[in-house]
Symmetry: C2
Subunit: 335 residues, 2 copies
């Protein structure tokens, strides 16, 4: 059985109150150096570790943060996890992960909640009033505590990059549920850019709801969608994909069709994942600030917990374009 505070106190010949005060540095009134030493020594000797549950019960603080994501298993999510965990560790908090919003726990189990990738409305609605929730997301709700970036801006940059290279006919590879008239951020940004730059465009997609598809399916869908594109539209010179998986699928379809990249066709991916680095040719891709957002979200949450309730609002981090070898001026070689 682990040593408890009473053991330490007895060992040091003091009361639990004094022991507690010393061990927590809560010395409202001065304590003699001698007893301090005795207590600290006893704690060390007995390998005393305060029971987190007892402490939590009393203080109402678990020192744990929940992290909820429907996309656990996505390499993109793991970047958030890594950053958030490191930050939480730094600040003395634990991270409880869950793919179920109900199960991740609320007050009593965790002190605050980090939500990744779920529509904010759904989250807030199910939470007790006042429970600190911050969402890391690409769909910002200015009314709520959100930190993230704009996928509209990301897609806009992707199209702009191609347009500025001189591409006039650009295909968009999306997902089911992202028909051209849809209002997802990525489509909004896409449409805004093609309109503004006056380029011709067509959307393609295969497969099902983005949340339900496996990564390998995304790759396959990209492959199939690109095949559709190849047999449907002869004049296109640029492709913008919803994510890197889809872009890599397209890369394969293009290679099989004998189209050179970036000679005949330029391709832009999204997320700037490890896939983009490893692709052949290396993929120009949109980099989202997911790791930074994860760390900031933890900071904000902890800050809110310390200082009562800090109304944070909505922080928007910049999205950037990583240019690699899959994009070039149209017809730049062998085209």
């Amino acid at each position: 059985m682990a040593a408890k505070l009473a053991d330490v106190a007895k060992h040091a010949g003091v009361s639990t109150a004094t022991a507690s005060r010393v061990l927590n540095n809560r010395m409202v009134m001065p304590i003699s150096v001698a007893t301090m030493d005795r207590i600290k020594r006893a704690a060390r000797d007995l390998d005393y570790r305060p029971n987190p549950m007892a402490r939590a019960l009393l203080t109402g603080r678990t020192h744990a943060l929940g992290l909820f994501s429907r996309e656990m298993g996505d390499p993109h999510f793991v970047q958030l996890l890594e950053a958030a965990e490191a930050e939480a560790l730094q600040l003395g908090y634990h991270l409880v992960v869950s793919s179920s919003q109900e199960a991740v726990g609320g007050p009593g189990r965790v002190d605050g909640l980090l939500v990744f990738g779920a529509p904010e409305q759904q989250v807030r609605a199910r939470r007790p009033d006042g429970f600190p929730v911050i969402t890391v997301n690409s769909t910002l709700d200015p009314e709520r505590d959100t930190i993230g970036w704009s996928d509209a801006e990301g897609m806009y940059s992707a199209v702009r990059h191609l347009a500025e290279l001189g591409h006039r006919r650009i295909a968009g590879l999306f997902c089911y549920g992202e028909e051209p008239h849809a209002d997802t951020p990525k489509l909004v940004g896409f449409r805004r850019a093609v309109e503004q730059y006056g380029v011709e465009w067509r959307p393609y997609w295969r497969g099902r709801d983005p949340f339900e598809v496996q990564q390998t399916n995304q790759f396959d869908n990209g492959y199939l969608a690109a095949q559709d594109l190849l047999s449907d539209w002869r004049g296109f010179t640029g492709i913008v994909a919803r994510n890197d998986y889809i872009a890599l699928g397209a890369l394969r379809a293009l290679r099989e069709a004998g189209k050179s990249v970036p000679g005949e066709v330029s391709v832009v991916g999204y997320n700037d994942s490890i896939l983009a680095t490893c692709a052949d040719p290396p993929l120009t891709s949109i980099r989202t600030p997911i790791a930074v957002a994860g760390a900031m979200a933890v900071q904000l949450l902890v800050q809110a917990l310390s200082g009562g309730s800090v109304e944070h609002g909505c922080t928007m981090l910049p999205v950037s374009l990583t240019v690699r070898g899959s994009t070039a001026r149209p017809g730049s070689s062998e085209g």
Copy 2:
């Protein structure tokens, strides 16, 4: 303020004892249906949720499991996380992740610990006696509770695959710290296979400790190591890589050197990650049962918690070979 048991009890006009019994289905003695209904109704009306900390303090059970890994951020780890989380959810447990063994918590914070990828000795040594720890790992210790697979077997299969295709000269792409005489499981398996099949072999590596390198560095190291290989050994026809990142780096070096895959050189990766699927050509790779192991580890841990302490020992799961387009008989085409 959230409703507590006392509120429910008062609302239903009973004592907390009765309320507790009904709400937990712990009815040693029969309880009148009428009061049962009243209590359940009160609980629903007040949206009563038992305080996990109070319960934990009393029962000594947190219903949380710790998951410790130094490789958080690795897409390979995320497969374990996903499977373990799903299983934990299923069994009513929470998952606390941490990249620090100290911080993930022990008794009082979590009921048991899942350790991924760390040498078992280091783990057990730092844990209080009797605290349930199970390691998911590739380096099995028959003395301890371990579940995993043999990377020696995996590497052996990779070499065997090439040897059976007829390759007689095989290069191994490893990491710094895995010099040919090292005793890491992968090298042991590699050496055993090349000896048994009588094939000529040479090891190559670049970079630093495997635990410290980023994924993109692994890719770069694979690229550089393959370049070393290309300028060093003319007669090789097969490559076995320590992981898929390295294999993809090698693929790039081979392409740049004008070597066709699998026509002139066959390449085998390790982990069968998404990279293997998306590579061009698709990568033959060794698939480890990491997801299954993660789920089983959670099951075992929970089982041990329920039934006192189940001595499990050491379970070894089979490793398999996924054959894709990067391997063929030597000189099978244009070679």
